[in-house]
């Protein structure tokens, strides 16, 4: 298996101090990796640093290419889709316009139409709300829209920031099922930030644990699940 994303000694923050320190990760192609940690551990900061939405130091290698000097939009064009916290939907545009924008950087018009249909297949609710303003969709629908938009890129790597946040358990289950399908059928590598450790570990192959800005554990998901301290702090067992 290839390493799709390598992170070396990454530090990042907002303004003066660093929020995350010396992050080292290897994300294998085709895998699902979970980034766990409690509130304020720096998980969102990590994802933002990976797509250079905030300034960071350290090295990033994606698909053999150095990307830590590139602008966000250039990294995205290489095939990295990022669903940010807060979802980042274009609330003033329609659902379908949001989806079309997901494919903006691609050159293949005909297959874009196909992909649009595929997204409506995954998320039928979105087809119903196709011409509605995205800002009027419910929380769950907006999350689905955000993920669908990211998938319209046909990304090689999908970064997801807390997809379960504020959503009803049934909706969360739906979303995780779709992510499993996307990973297994379409071979999309997924890096998933989640507070809901149980669901994340069920989906993931590998997991990292972030505490106050540093990676303190890295292990296969099954191993993480069995770990006593993890169970106590994050799985409520």
């Amino acid at each position: 298996m290839n390493v799709l994303l390598t992170v070396k000694n990454m530090c990042a923050g907002y303004g003066q101090g660093h929020v995350i320190h010396d992050i080292n990760m290897d994300i294998m192609e085709g895998s699902v990796t979970a980034l766990l940690g409690s509130n304020g551990a720096g998980k969102t900061t990590t994802l933002r640093a990976l797509t250079r939405m905030i300034s960071m130091s350290g090295e990033l290698h994606f698909n053999g290419q150095r990307i830590d000097t590139l602008a966000t939009e250039e990294i995205v064009r290489l095939g990295v889709a990022h669903v940010p916290d807060g979802r980042g939907t274009f609330t003033g545009l329609t659902t379908e316009e949001n989806l079309r924008l997901g494919a903006y950087s691609r050159n293949d018009k005909p297959s874009q139409q196909q992909d649009l249909e595929k997204m409506y297949g995954y998320f039928p609710k979105l087809r119903e709300r196709k011409l509605q303003q995205a800002g009027t969709l419910s929380g769950g629908e907006q999350q689905m829209l955000a993920i669908a938009r990211a998938l319209m890129l046909r990304p090689r790597l999908l970064l997801l920031d807390e997809p379960s946040f504020g959503l009803a358990p049934l909706v969360v289950q739906e979303i995780f099922d779709i992510m499993r399908t996307v990973n297994q059928l379409e071979k999309v590598t997924i890096l998933l930030v989640e507070q809901n450790a149980a669901m994340a570990l069920n989906l993931a192959d590998h997991a990292y644990l972030l505490e106050t800005g540093r990676l303190v554990k890295s292990a296969a998901a099954d191993v993480m699940k069995q770990d006593e301290s993890i169970r106590r702090s994050y799985l409520g067992a």
Partner: protein
């Protein structure tokens, strides 16, 4: 009754010009939250470029379309070179740069083309259309040009991918980057288009007010009023505001306050809207109060 109708028609004609310029202002405001104080001077300078071409023997419509291209480039260049460096600077610094731009363009025009008033041709015949007495051919033609412009802009933004990307970049630059939109390129494009729209306004009004470096200052004031009345972040508002202001200006000027005080109408409108309803008719962005 006839003169009243004429005032209305003339108001619609100038209103179309105000609507175009207001639209240019709104385009830039939407994507940057800056008010382009130099919008009028850019339009004026572009009109001088058209004049130079016509003076050199180029036919009107070729000069017209060449000016569209030239002003697009001018606008994009100005954004890249002069505006981009102060994008995130404090408001005062940004305002100073815009006023500086206004001053440079104004003096450049005076320097290169002199301050003497020049006539600018209208592509429309001198005789009134169909023998009507309520509107001149130029006024009717202006309205036509304005409508064509507005329809084309609407189609562009609603139905093209680039138009969609520009709308997205204006609404949410961060999310736009996350779908691979090169936001700063969109800003330059927006400025280019705004300059182009301004040049059309300039070329439509120059035959009426004559070409000289200060010709757009009054027009700009009306465009500000129009944009504020409609809502500074609403393109539809800018258009409707433009026509409202155009008609108001003409009717009030003819029947109530006389032509010498017409600019004050714009001033009163601006101050009233800002004081009582800063979001205008269709805008969402409210002025923050502390």
């Amino acid at each position: 009754m006839e003169t009243f109708l004429h005032q209305i028609m003339a108001g619609i004609a100038t209103g179309g010009i105000y609507a175009s310029l207001a639209l240019a202002l709104v385009m830039i405001y939407q994507s940057t939250h800056h008010i382009n104080f130099a919008q009028g001077e850019i339009a004026m300078f572009a009109t001088y470029l058209a004049w130079s071409l016509i003076n050199a023997g180029v036919s009107y419509w070729i000069a017209f379309f060449s000016t569209l291209v030239l002003s697009f480039l001018l606008g994009a260049l100005i954004q890249r070179i002069i505006i981009k460096p102060v994008e995130r600077a404090p408001v005062l610094n940004v305002v100073v740069v815009f006023i500086g731009l206004l001053v440079i363009l104004n003096s450049l025009a005076g320097w290169i083309f002199s301050y003497t008033i020049k006539p600018f041709p209208s592509p429309f015949p001198k005789e009134p259309p169909f023998g009507w007495s309520i509107i001149s051919s130029h006024e009717l033609g202006s309205i036509g040009v304005t409508l064509v412009l507005l329809v084309l802009l609407f189609l562009f933004f609603r139905f093209t991918t680039l138009g969609l990307a520009m709308r997205a970049a204006a609404q949410n630059p961060d999310s736009s980057r996350l779908v691979g939109i090169r936001v700063s390129r969109m800003l330059a494009l927006g400025w280019g288009m705004a300059a182009m729209i301004g040049s059309i306004a300039g070329m439509m009004i120059a035959p009426v007010v004559f070409l000289e470096p200060n010709m757009m200052s009054g027009v700009l004031l009306y465009a500000f009023a129009a944009a504020l009345v409609g809502g500074i972040d609403s393109p539809l508002g800018a258009v409707i505001g433009g026509f409202i202001v155009g008609i108001l200006e003409n009717v009030l000027g003819a029947y109530l306050i006389g032509t010498e005080l017409k600019l004050s109408v714009a001033l009163v409108l601006i101050v009233s809207v800002l004081t009582f309803k800063p979001a205008g008719l269709f805008g969402k962005n409210l002025v923050t109060r502390v």
